[in-house]
Amino acid sequence: MSGTQAVTATPVQLPEQSTSIGSRRNRKRKHDPTAKSPMWVRIVLGLICLAWVIPTFGLAVTSFRAKDDAATSGWWTIFTTPSNFTRLTLKNYSDVFSQTDMGEAFVNSIAITVPATIIPILIAAFAAYAFSFMQFPGRDLLLIVIVGLLVVPTQVALVPLLKIYGALGLNGTLPAVWLTHIGFGMPLAVYIIRNYMSTLPKEVIESAKIDGASHFQTFWRLILPMSTPVLASFAIFQFLWVWNDLLNALIFAGQNSPLPVSLNRLIGSEGQGWQLLTAGGLFTMIVPIIVFLSLQRYFVRGLTAGSVKG
């Protein structure tokens, strides 16, 4: 297998591009009129960023305000009225944990999201490999069907699935939720992983073949490691989707309900409870934001490979 390893060692020619949001910039563009960016650019961009952050910031501030304060004055008054500032409290957060099942829901969210994110990657990668490196009749047609399915609203599948799960006794169990997300995420997974894999140099496969490696070996030793960025980008997509999903969790998770279900429950049956929603909402956002920030540098690389060709 030394040949295969030798091939692995060959650096793969990835498109020249930034690999993370903004970092490792290869900008030595001499044309820059000034070394620093012009003032108007900073101002415009600063304003855009402000506009993007303020709504979330407002929610964050509100989550620390007492219920009556939040209902009777704008969140920005904490900056104009000192008494509003000093009345900030952690009560909403303690209420969220004492009055609701957010803690348990958090565990459920993890128990649902992690398997539902990791398992489909492997299945989709095998399919993407077949689409990228194997010749067989019906290949394009099958791929086109999969691309077409990207637009089918998943709601259509809910009732048929309930029937099937009911027959198998799966309703309300974790595997039911996992399987559902695996199924619904599959077209996107196959699509973006294939896009990436098809940019990998065909010569790699050819030389592996000459060395006598089977498809199975080529997949494991070569293609999978080379596809890490796209696997990571799909993982992010799927993670965010599963973590934030309300509808499927509502229908299939039963007792194992994750955070969005609890969050939705904070709005009472008559519609009250917005003050708890702010704290609960912020709590729900934490994990996806952390996951996102820590994996973002793979995100771009995986998604752009298919479309950005230098």
Partner: protein
């Protein structure tokens, strides 16, 4: 709780190992076949689990939906095209279609324009400024719809005049001397729909920006230098050189956002539930299925959604073929 976590760990390990073993077995099985057959069968074996999942979770329900769209509300008898004709005749549904069309026309374009704008501007900042601004703009993508609804509630909220406003827009508007406005009810020129579109723009612009920014950085510096030496204006350079170079990325972003737009459900559902002429097709589908319990109408709506998607699909397929040919 520990049991649940243990369960999840078992699922991950078991699921991944199980899949590996499955593929290994499938591979072995294929290798037992005589050489020529091995190559013929193997692709299908590799595809089998994925295709099985897709068939069960999407194709089968889609076919069933197509059939149900010609049946009555509890799917007990066929009614021909009744669901389609009654929907298309109804004023409400015409409104919904019109709104959906607006979303299709406006949002992907707006997302691209804003994404491009931010990408180009951020490209001119120092590395730290660029990273920070991009991260801030990208973050809403990680926020779920329920949370996003809560967030924007505090932007569009309205309180009766005389009371303190708690919504940002009205806080500013009344601060400037205006009377509080119920923003989400302003259906003149579909202003309220535009406000809902802003929410989707807010959630998706970061995605567009990141992809487009990477593409712009991929444009060879020499080409730009040459153009500048020839005295081309920055605007000309952007539209004549940069845009054609990043064409494929533009298309990818456009289609991804378009698909997102067609499926837009949560934003409209949480904020207005389609009131004041803001309804869109996915919300209508949900309400037909769950509020009205009318399987027939709901199915017909999905089928129409699929029909709307056909041009996109055709375009997507052509694009795909062209790319394959270029490779």
């Amino acid at each position: 709780m520990t049991i649940k976590i243990l369960n999840a760990i078992i699922a991950v390990v078991g699921g991944v190992l199980g899949a590996i073993v499955l593929y290994w077995l499938l591979n072995k099985l294929a290798e037992l076949l005589p050489g020529r057959w091995e190559d013929r069968v193997k692709p299908y074996l590799f595809l089998l689990p994925a295709v099985a999942a897709i068939s069960l979770y999407l194709i089968y329900p889609a076919i069933q939906t197509l059939i149900y769209s010609f049946a009555n509300k509890n799917s007990t008898a066929f009614v021909g095209f009744d669901n389609y004709t009654s929907l298309l005749k109804s004023q409400n549904f015409q409104n919904t279609l019109f709104n959906t069309l607006l979303w299709i026309i406006i949002v992907p374009a707006a997302v691209i324009v804003v994404g491009l704008l931010i990408a180009t501007l951020a490209d001119r900042l120092g590395p730290r400024g660029e990273k920070l601004s991009k991260t801030l703009i990208f973050l809403p993508m990680a926020i779920g719809a329920v949370s996003a609804g809560a967030i924007w509630k505090f932007v569009y909220a309205v309180r009766p005049p005389g009371q303190n406003q708690i919504g940002l827009f009205n806080g500013i508007f009344t601060g400037l001397g205006g009377d509080p406005v119920n923003w989400l009810q302003l259906s003149t020129l579909r202003f309220n729909s535009l406000l809902l579109m802003v929410m989707l723009l807010w959630m998706q612009a970061g995605f567009a920006m990141v992809l487009l920014s990477a593409a712009i950085k991929g444009v060879p510096t020499e080409t730009l230098e040459a153009a500048r030496l020839d005295g081309a204006a920055e605007g000309t350079i952007f539209f004549r050189i940069v845009v054609p170079q990043i064409r494929t990325t533009l298309i990818t972003v456009f289609i991804t956002v378009l698909i997102g737009v067609l499926k837009t459900f949560d934003i409209v559902y949480v904020m207005t539930n389609g009131r004041s002429k803001t309804n869109v097709i996915a919300v209508d589908f949900f309400n037909q299925l769950f509020t009205n319990r009318n399987n027939g109408n709901a199915a017909a709506i999905v089928v129409m959604l699929l029909i709307i998607m056909i041009p996109v699909l055709v375009f997507q397929v052509r694009q795909f073929r062209a790319e394959e040919a270029a490779r």
